[in-house]
């Protein structure tokens, strides 16, 4: 068994996606800027992909820019909007549980003299729209809130926040990297002015992303060069990548509904199975308010990395919010913001499922996991203490 439960980190490229990409490596390999046949084929392919993405997001094809990924899209959205609209104000509102690709550009802007309000979230990892409303000032230029969180899967009240932004005529950026392909939405309905998407999270290729820019919204390019992507994102287009991203969006649109049902069934089975078999666990987030594929669980008394390594040895691949797996030595900022007790943060594991997971994989995991948890607990001085204290 080699089970992949880390689909929020990245996904397998769909075989249909890869098939669509292949000719653009070795046959239609032209530069879309070239006038000749090779160029024309590449140009057509990019335009087709543009419509495929637009259809999934419910936007016009002219309203999107291809980028190299979610991080670039977020940077371009936040900094590009503020730099293009200096009169809009110098205050930014975001939340504690954003991805670093939103938090860190915001912090960088703060160093450059912008003001930043980072609203807190509740124990379920959800922003309260009223907190956003309260944070709004006369000089608020931008609100940036993620659609769904990558670590715990908590879905944010994006439409409500969009309405508040609209009421106050403030630009609204949505990091939808984890939402696209997992929940169905229309960009126009949630009132997003800017929205980020990353190809590799939706069974598309790595190194591809999209920034939706609503008609009328101005964004300044962060890099300069040729005339690509309406001068907003210069650089020779990654044609095979873009083609793959387009196809991934087409597939996502077609299969979203059935996949949600399929994946959430597996996820629920995994959760209920764990709850039945293992004591002293905690679901981070609330089952009704998280992405259908995500399950972030804290196992008391043990540390996430060792659990992860033992699971990995048995062919189960997932990730953790533990400090010990990240380069930063700081435990998950998301779980901390949710006020999960520190030792429970250390013992957290994220299972993020995908369309390629199978029922057997859930069953196998439910067979393996309790023994490993028990083994680590037996080794843990915290567990012993608990047992001795009779808690």
């Amino acid at each position: 068994m080699n089970i992949y439960f880390d689909n929020n980190a990245t996904t397998k490229v769909d075989s249909e996606v890869l098939e669509e990409m292949l000719p653009y490596y070795s046959k239609f390999y032209g530069n879309p800027s070239s006038v000749h046949d090779f160029g024309r084929k590449a140009r057509f392919a990019v335009n087709k992909a543009r419509s495929q993405v637009a259809k999934l997001l419910g936007i016009q094809p002219e309203e999107l820019i291809f980028t190299s990924g979610g991080t670039e899209s977020n940077n371009l959205a936040i900094k590009g909007y503020l730099f293009a609209n200096p009169k809009a104000g110098r205050h930014i509102i975001t939340s504690e549980i954003e991805h670093h690709a939103v938090l860190n550009p915001c912090k960088e802007l703060k160093k450059q003299g912008y003001d930043l309000t980072v609203v807190s979230i509740n124990k379920e990892g959800v922003v309260n729209p009223e907190e956003i409303r309260k944070a709004i000032r006369g000089d608020t230029a931008l609100i940036s809130i993620m659609y769904a969180n990558n670590e715990v899967g908590s879905i944010q009240p994006i439409s409500e926040i969009g309405n508040i932004a609209k009421e106050h005529n403030i630009c609204f950026h949505v990091d939808a990297v984890q939402a696209v392909g997992k929940i169905s939405f229309k960009t126009k309905e949630i009132k997003a002015d800017l929205l980020s998407l990353s190809g590799h999270k939706i069974n598309g290729p790595k190194g591809t992303g999209v920034l939706y820019i609503r008609k009328g919204i101005k964004v300044k390019s962060l890099q300069q060069g040729g005339h690509h992507e309406r001068n907003i994102r210069p650089g020779t287009e990654n044609v095979p990548g873009i083609v793959g991203l387009g196809k991934a969006c087409e597939i996502a649109k077609k299969t979203l509904n059935e996949e949600v049902i399929y994946v959430s069934n597996l996820r629920n089975k995994l959760y209920l199975g764990i709850r039945e078999r293992i004591s002293d666990i905690k679901l981070n987030g609330c089952l009704e308010g998280i992405l259908p594929n995500t399950l972030n669980i804290s196992f008391a008394y043990i540390e996430g990395e060792s659990l992860l390594l033992k699971l990995n040895k048995k062919g189960i691949n997932c990730s953790t919010g533990s400090a010990c797996t990240s380069g930063s030595l700081k435990a998950s900022h998301v779980l901390r913001a949710m006020k999960v007790p520190s030792h429970m943060i250390q013992g957290s594991i994220r299972f993020s499922l995908g369309k390629y997971n199978k029922e057997e994989e859930i069953e196998y995991t439910l067979k393996i996991l309790p023994g490993i948890v028990q083994q680590l607990r037996e080794m843990s001085p915290l567990y012993e203490g608990i047992k001795e204290d009779g808690i």
């Binding site: 008394y301 996430g304 060792s306 380069g327 843990s380 012993e384």
Partner: protein
């Protein structure tokens, strides 16, 4: 971040896991908030460590350093045991990834603290 084979071997088959009933010395260091807690038990005879056991809450490196230090001390005089440093522990494991170096401090500290505990008890 990659663990050496030696680290993985100790992580997967940790030596001397458990507790010693009525130990001659116990050291407990670390803090669950930081992700590592280690408890080290020793039994001492004629100023020599004849048995060592541990319990650890922590990452792969924390468990592996715990395991190897219990092997390293066994049979050593207390004086020699006190010469074990984080450096010797790391070397014995064929190295640790840079971000995991702090775990080796934990093992050294737990050992020192267990020996201290022994001296304290025996000076009474």
């Amino acid at each position: 971040m990659e663990y050496s084979k030696k680290v993985m071997e100790h992580f997967e088959n940790p030596r001397n896991v458990g507790e010693i009933k009525n130990p001659d010395g116990v050291g407990r260091v670390g803090n669950p908030a930081c992700g590592d807690v280690m408890k080290l038990y020793i039994r001492v005879k004629d100023d020599r460590i004849i048995e060592a056991k541990f319990k650890t809450f922590g990452c792969g490196a924390a468990i592996a350093t715990s395991s190897i230090i219990t092997e390293m001390v066994k049979g050593k005089t207390l004086e020699d045991a006190l010469k074990i440093t984080k450096k010797t522990v790391v070397e014995a494991l064929d190295g640790l990834p840079p971000i995991k170096m702090h775990c080796s401090v934990l093992a050294e500290d737990a050992l020192k603290s267990a020996i201290e505990d022994y001296y304290k008890k025996n000076s009474q």
